[in-house]
Amino acid sequence: MAPQLYMSSSPHIHSGESTNAIMRSVIYALLPTCAVSVYYFGLDALLVLLLCVAGCLAAEALCCLLAQQPVSIGDGSAALTGILLALNLPASSPWWLALFGALIAVTIGKQVFGGLGHNLFNPALVARVVLLISFPVQMTSWTAPNPIGSGVDAIAAATPLGEMQTAVMLNGQLPPSAHSGFGDYFIGNMAGSLGEVSALAILLGAAYLFKKKVITWEIPVSYLGSVIAFGGIMWLIDSQLYPDPLFHLLTGGLLLGVFFMATDMVTTPITRNGMLIFGVGCGVITVLIRLFGGYPEGVSFAILLMNGATPLIDRYTRPKVFGRILHKT
């Protein structure tokens, strides 16, 4: 006689939210950005996207098989890592770069820590940084956007941030592109990696995530706020040398980072105050690297650094427990 009834500890009902659904929502939210990148960079972009996603799924399956664990590609996190990685690569990336990145992201970025939920760093960013350091040439050969149907061959170009850095280094002042062309930046008509192009598409995706309550306001607001504040202060100090905050916002991977990578749940604090600190930290480091660092772009480094600080932040931002005056840390 097999038992019929289930018993468990309370509660017996559930909100219906699931890890899969969260991952799926984030993937949906990234679709506009993917579409824009394919529009501007053509089949190259599509290829990079497909390679990264396929690579991540394969690497994930392989890791699970090797560890004799149930294969977890169904939870969508590997696919998401793949998309995020692709959005961090230039459209001109060779195929091996994409695959190698995918392998790094899933193995070193995630599975060595024990899989989803245990990784300390954002897998896609780990892979990006590893690639950036190992293959600087391939990782920084940008092409100018080349909308589908324009019939022109892809030409090499610099990203606005790269242009800025070179100009500041050579001439000691900002290039003209740092003062105009914001409209183009907003819709994505500039050189950069797949996901760095269109602010509009990213904001659309972010709006969807907010509506679905997948992400909360703390990290985006504090991150953007601190970039604006810190970037703004520098601009006020010397507007010839430092670009205005809007330029910071619209160029490079900032928006992608803010809404899709700095909000990655696994690698960010779980407490509200922790999230705020995390966002501010990311913002400050990003601007520091952009203005004073050796690399033109600092989003990935900033987020990774703060990822590393997350356990510490969590430890010291414990909320005040109801009914307790003070809590020990």
Binding site: M1, A2, P3, Q4, L5, Y6, M7, S8, S9
Partner: protein, 287 residues
């Protein structure tokens, strides 16, 4: 390039000097005996002695005259060794192994309900006294596995805990972890056990378990010295268990097991006496 090498070299030098100075300055005087005791302890830091790790216990033995027989994994060898170091009389305890007194896996027993939730026996046991119909049987959720520092316990595919006699060091941590008190420490020399823990009447046991002791007395009749029946449950009297093996075939419910010749169904552990055949030899024999 050169600057980098020199720079790193300098850092290394400074750090080395600092470390050397610190080790002198902050050196702690350690009783030589404490080091020696620490040396003979197994070094697994299992905590079974009740002190923080092996070195903690070593310190306690030397400074606080803690009993020298608190290290179950070390067994008698360690006790003798500590006794020699400390100049104490050897008071050796008999080596023990833990035995799970149940064979009722999911195929052989019935469940009251389908449990969902935390994968832990103690947690499950709090919900209507556990999902198993048998009030004393193994829940198979592995609280003992978590407690065992030596990886000596497995949960079979049908959710039964089995302890390897080779890996078990007799530390006893699993005994307290089990909410149903069905793990018992037994002398390592005793290999025959009645693998049942249910004191229910035979008729009741039959209803929920195919392989539970029904208290029929047959084993006791076969080997009167070796068995005692306590409230419908046969138990091996480990003080006089010489004849216990005689009853194995007589038991109508097959609940007497000799770990020398077999382990419970589905276990990946094998008796020490049965060596797995080595395929390499088979090949070599061919001309």
């Amino acid at each position: 390039m050169l600057t980098a090498v020199l720079g790193l070299g300098q850092i290394g030098l400074v750090a080395a000097i600092a470390l050397g100075w610190a080790s002198k300055k902050f050196a702690v005087d350690v009783d030589a005996r404490e080091l020696a005791v620490n040396e003979v302890l197994p070094g697994v830091n299992c905590g079974a002695c009740g002190y923080p790790g092996c070195s903690g216990y070593a310190g306690a033995v030397v400074k606080e005259a803690a009993p020298i027989n608190l290290c179950p994994p070390g067994g008698s060898e360690v006790i003798t060794a500590i006794a020699r170091i400390m100049g104490l009389e050897d008071d050796v305890t008999e080596p023990q192994v833990a035995v799970v007194l149940c064979q009722g896996d999911n195929r052989k027993t019935t469940q009251k309900y389908i449990y969902t939730g935390m994968h832990d026996c103690n947690a499950a046991n709090n919900i209507a006294d556990g999902p198993k119909q048998c009030p004393n049987g193994c829940l198979g959720l592995g609280s003992c596995v978590t407690a065992c520092p030596f990886d000596a316990i497995e949960i079979t595919a049908d959710d039964l805990a089995v302890i390897s006699r080779e890996r078990c060091t007799g530390c006893g941590l699993c005994v307290t972890a089990c909410p149903r008190q069905l793990i018992r420490m037994t002398p390592a020399t005793a290999t025959v056990h009645v693998l049942c823990n249910s004191h229910d009447k035979g008729g009741v046991v039959r209803k929920y378990c195919e392989i539970g002791c029904i208290g029929c007395n047959i084993c006791k009749k076969t080997a009167p010295e070796a068995f005692k029946i306590d409230q419908f449950l046969a138990q091996v009297d480990y003080a006089h268990d010489d004849d216990a093996a005689m009853a194995i075939d007589k038991c109508p419910k097959n609940c007497i097991v000799d770990f020398n010749s077999t382990y419970p169904d589905g276990s990946k552990f094998k008796p020490a006496s049965i060596q797995p055949p080595t395929p390499a030899c088979a090949g070599k024999d061919l001309p």
